[in-house]
């Protein structure tokens, strides 16, 4: 008998990434395959680790604010909102109404921008090239509004602790409403391209199923949780920035598969438009900053404040020792926690689906690695 050779083994260990176009950054996944079947996965992360939490301990509260934009860089406004809310909680101040309404508008615009980028890249991963160009066109309009508001397109640093960084520019309301009117029919266009597209449905339906129980066990939040049928959104469950005053629906799915997650995010974009329209009507004249001391020195204490970021629950746990610098800032990134469920979703599935599964999480590695 000849010795066993490597050809006798049916299992293959395959390395994917970190430099791979469909890992959405620098994610490395080590896969164990049996033919085309995935036997197990291991994620290697940390390639973008910049030590944001350590940096925070060496900056003042205000100085650290721009850093958070660099975590989830496609939803910088949400990151900034979460951080500002956490420090405001420590200081026991609340942003004035005008600032709150503006915060809602900008974060919802950012949610749309984030979902658009997700849609474009996710579709591209699966082989649909066209949507990418469409979504980039729409996203451009949102980035233009950001640019007119604060001069930056991606890492906006739109908010300050206690309110807004800048007064709204002349014509902000018109720009926003014009975008809403123009954007809504576009969502229908995307749906026309994809929702009933045979290839799209075949590639997504029943792929990467994560049911509600598993979502809770893995701490998975955001659209992934909602697609599993759990109607849970922090904007509704624990409202902040006046979200309790807005009417919107929390879209949910039933099967918890990749297709449902797609539908949930599409509907969320429509709901964001709905919130923006209500918010624009609520803009009233007034101050944009609460009374915040020039030197921010929160009393000793610790708080955890979280918001519904486009990817899920984004939390900040901040410990103050009464000095001008935070003693500890912990960021609870939604992408990091969600990605942990990758193995559960991919195991037993086909190798060709791994790309769809990574895409459906809508991960941003800047946020995972911080």
């Amino acid at each position: 008998m000849a010795d066993k050779t490597f050809l006798d083994s049916t299992e293959l260990v395959l390395n994917m990434g970190p430099q791979h176009p469909s890992t959405h950054g620098v994610l490395r996944v080590i896969l164990k395959l049996d033919g085309e079947k995935i036997m197990g996965t291991d994620c290697v992360i940390g390639y973008l680790h910049r030590g944001v939490e350590k940096i925070a301990e060496n900056r003042t509260y205000a100085m650290f604010a721009p850093y958070v934009d660099r975590m989830d860089y496609v939803a910088a406004v949400s990151n900034g909102l979460g951080y500002c809310l956490a420090v405001e909680k420590l200081l026991s101040v609340e942003a004035p109404p005008r600032a709150q309404v503006t915060r809602v508008i900008l974060t919802e615009l950012n949610r749309i921008a984030s979902h658009l980028l997700w849609l474009g890249t996710h579709a591209l991963d699966i082989g649909a090239t066209t949507p990418l160009f469409y979504v980039m066109r729409e996203r451009e309009e949102i980035l233009n509004i950001f640019e007119k508001y604060c001069g930056a397109r991606l890492t906006t640093h739109a908010f300050r602790i206690g309110g807004l960084q800048y007064e709204l520019y002349e014509g902000f309301e018109e720009d926003t409403l014009r975008f809403c009117d123009w954007f809504l029919p576009r969502v229908d266009e995307y749906e026309e391209l994809l929702t009933e597209n045979r290839i799209w449905v075949d590639r997504l339906k029943g792929v990467g199923i994560l049911d509600a129980e598993d979502c809770k066990a893995y701490g998975v939040t955001g659209p992934v949780l909602r697609a599993a049928g759990v109607e849970w959104d922090l904007r509704r469950a624990q409202p902040y920035s006046g979200y309790e005053q807005y009417e919107f629906k929390i879209p949910t799915g039933q099967n918890g598969d990749t297709y449902d997650r797609y539908l949930v995010r599409m509907e969320e974009m429509r709901q964001s438009v709905r919130i923006i329209r209500q918010a624009v009507e609520r803009i009233e004249p007034g101050p944009i900053m609460a009374k915040v001391p020039k030197v921010i020195k929160p009393p000793v204490g610790e708080v955890y404040v979280s918001i519904e970021a486009p990817k899920g629950e984004l939390g900040y746990f901040i410990v103050s020792d009464g000095s001008t610098q935070p003693y500890r800032v912990r960021v609870r990134p939604p992408s990091f926690v969600n990605l942990q469920a990758l193995d559960k979703m991919a195991r037993g599935g086909l190798f060709a689906d791994i790309v769809a599964i990574i895409g459906t999480f809508d991960i941003v590695l800047g946020e995972i690695d911080r």
Binding site: E53, I55, L90, K216, Q238, K294, G301, E302, V303
Partner: protein, 193 residues
């Protein structure tokens, strides 16, 4: 600015004059209600403190009871979602680390923090047996603080390279002085910075 509010430091109990930076403590108020009384009844002396600060309740417990409490909270009180596990380093304190678990209940729409203080070198029990999500979260705590969890299924570094020396979020880990040997060997940067 004229309107600068003095953040009234919570008075330390033994009126320590006005020493410049008083070792102030968090001005937490006792947390009364159904949950703390149930927990006290169930775990007795293991619950060291039930307080709230700025409307956010937290309980401080002995290190050995964290996992039983998380288990009780999950299966009896519906706190079925472990939001986060993290640590805070207080190098001057004898029990050096605060280990913080944040749990949330979908049914009650409540969030509480379970805090425990541990010494350097103490190996707290891993919570993976109760909440699967603790796996990566505890790996990150281990990576950043060097707290080793007992019975963790896969305790490896997660963000830093495997052969990195030191644990970056410890307070005595200087931000300017990273693992120079690793940088020299792996990145070929002579200064190591």
């Amino acid at each position: 600015m004229a309107d600068e509010q003095k953040p009234a430091p919570p008075k330390p109990p033994a009126g320590a004059a006005k020493a410049p930076p008083p070792p102030a403590v968090m001005a937490a108020t006792p947390w009364e209600g159904e949950l703390p009384s149930v927990l006290r009844e169930q775990f007795g002396g293991a619950i060291l403190e039930c307080s709230t600060y700025l409307g956010q309740p937290f309980i401080r417990v002995t290190p050995g009871t964290v996992v039983p409490i998380l288990d009780f909270l999950k299966f009896e009180m519906e706190f079925d979602y472990l939001v986060d596990v993290t640590a805070v380093d207080y190098p001057k304190r004898e029990e050096r680390f605060d280990l913080v678990y944040i749990v949330y209940s979908f049914a009650r729409n409540e969030r509480i923090r379970v805090v425990t203080r541990i010494q350097d070198g103490f190996r707290p029990e891993s919570a993976v047996c109760v909440h699967l999500t603790a796996n990566w979260l505890e790996r990150e705590v281990y990576d950043m603080f060097g707290i080793e969890f007992a019975n963790h299924p896969d305790l490896r570094r997660i963000l830093m390279p495997d052969d990195w020396q030191g644990h970056p979020l410890r307070k005595d880990y200087n931000i300017l002085q990273m693992d120079q040997r690793w940088v020299q060997e792996n990145l070929g940067i002579e200064s190591g910075q």
